[in-house]
Amino acid sequence: MMVLITYDVNVTTAAGKKRLRQVAKQCQNFGQRVQNSVFECLVDPTQFTDLKHRLESIVNPETDSLRYYFLGSSWKRRVEHYGNKEIYDPEGILIIDANP
């Protein structure tokens, strides 16, 4: 299933900046960064539980927030893209060659 994860982490403190980096890193381990604090993660339910647990042990619920949007398995028709920041389709054809 595809899960869209967005977050706000309060970065007014040094600890906040650290949390932001850690959250981003965990999201990146499971998915693709599509915008600054927005990740698309193609995961199975186990992987999602794992990721959720990791994220929620990092953030401070007093100052930060996390939102999960479940796009299911037919997520492709629920997403449209406009503008720069080309992203790849994790279920599509992955060929890295000279012509991007």
Binding site: D44, P90, I96
Partner: protein, 343 residues
């Protein structure tokens, strides 16, 4: 049912594969070109000289992702895999079976009869879809002969004779193969199957597709715990994935031969995409190779009803299903091995 995960193909010789956390990175001139979480992948195939860091190799081994290295023309060079997995009892039984003449003959007969019948089905499809264009008489005759060879197989008493029948069937089938080519006939024609090196464009294309299929079947057998090197029909030879070659026999016509014909008939590839060397060897250029890889990946996502399981599955999972059925038979859970018959 297992999910069909993606395969990442790297065709840039100056690419370098590295690891960052759980991500696979592809760097070009030390710049990150691409990153993807490893759990979305089941294999990485590198063409040419793409290098990989030990860190990435660790990650692939831990996660059961097969990392293979091929030459830029698709010849298999090597593979990085993790610990030998699976059930030692299964593998021991497999070895015992490959030493047993009666069982070897029975298994080999299964693979080859499916191969012959699937080749026949490929010709049959051509007659059905394009009765006006193809030489129906030739194809019908060939189909009849193939069917009678398949029947003969049931009475074969030793591997030697079996190989003879297989050779005859392959000869008949490939002599009729030109009939499947409906467009670009002057540029794409084959007189016989040849390899190392392939001497015409069709042979070149077939060899490349067979290499891709080998990669899939080896990975499937290994993931199920069978030893891809201990085969029944193909005998032991160092470095040869004999069992994978056995299982491939039944998959070749549908996975590779038909795809080759489709690519040519739809003009997705053309004669200019091939280079003829001084020694007569024919090789593909980079653009054509990419076109073939794209078509291959698409074909793997097509869904079919598996003839034995009667379940809808993506074609890319068929090697895994056959490996699973084979393992069940070797373990004694099912009485016989049901090869893949394409309808």
């Amino acid at each position: 049912m297992r999910k069909l995960l993606n395969t990442l193909y790297v065709t840039m010789p100056n690419a370098y594969l590295a690891r960052d956390g759980e991500n696979v990175l592809i760097k070009i001139d030390n710049e990150i070109r691409f990153r993807i979480p490893v759990h979305n992948l089941e294999g990485i195939v590198c063409f040419g000289f793409a290098g990989a860091s030990p860190g990435l190799m660790h990650l692939c081994c831990e996660r059961g992702v097969t990392l293979s290295f091929l030459t830029e023309y698709g010849k298999f060079k090597g593979r990085v895999t993790g610990k030998v997995s699976g059930n030692i009892l299964l593998r021991k039984n497999q070895y015992r079976w490959t030493e047993n003449e009666i069982i070897t003959l029975r298994m080999a007969t299964r693979f080859i009869s499916a191969k012959i019948m699937n080749s026949r089905a490929v010709l049959h499809r051509a007659v059905r879809d394009h009765p006006q264009v193809v030489d129906t008489t030739l194809l019908t005759d060939t189909m009849k002969n193939l069917a009678s060879l398949a029947k003969q197989l049931q009475k074969v008493k030793d591997l030697h004779t079996l190989r003879g029948v297989e050779g005859q069937a392959a000869y008949l089938y490939f002599s009729a193969f030109n009939q499947l080519i409906l467009s670009q006939k002057e540029d794409f024609s084959m007189s016989e199957r040849n390899r190392r090196p392939p001497l015409d464009r069709i042979n070149c294309l077939l060899s490349f597709l067979y290499t891709l299929l080998t990669h899939e079947v080896v990975a499937a057998l290994e993931s199920i715990g069978l030893d891809p090197q201990a085969g029944f029909l193909h005998r032991d030879r160092p470095g040869r994935p004999s069992l994978a070659l056995d299982v491939m026999e039944e998959l070749r016509p549908h996975f590779a031969d038909r795809l080759a014909a489709t690519l040519i008939n739809r003009n997705q590839i053309n004669a200019n995409g091939f280079v003829v060397k001084e020694n007569g060897a024919v090789i593909m250029d980079e653009k054509t190779r990419k076109e073939v890889l794209v078509a291959w990946q698409k074909r793997k996502q097509e869904e079919i009803i598996h003839p034995f399981l009667e379940e809808k599955v993506p074609l890319g999972l068929v090697p895994y299903i056959q490996a699973m059925l084979l393992a069940r038979h070797v373990r004694g859970d099912i009485e016989d091995y049901p090869p893949f018959f394409w309808k």
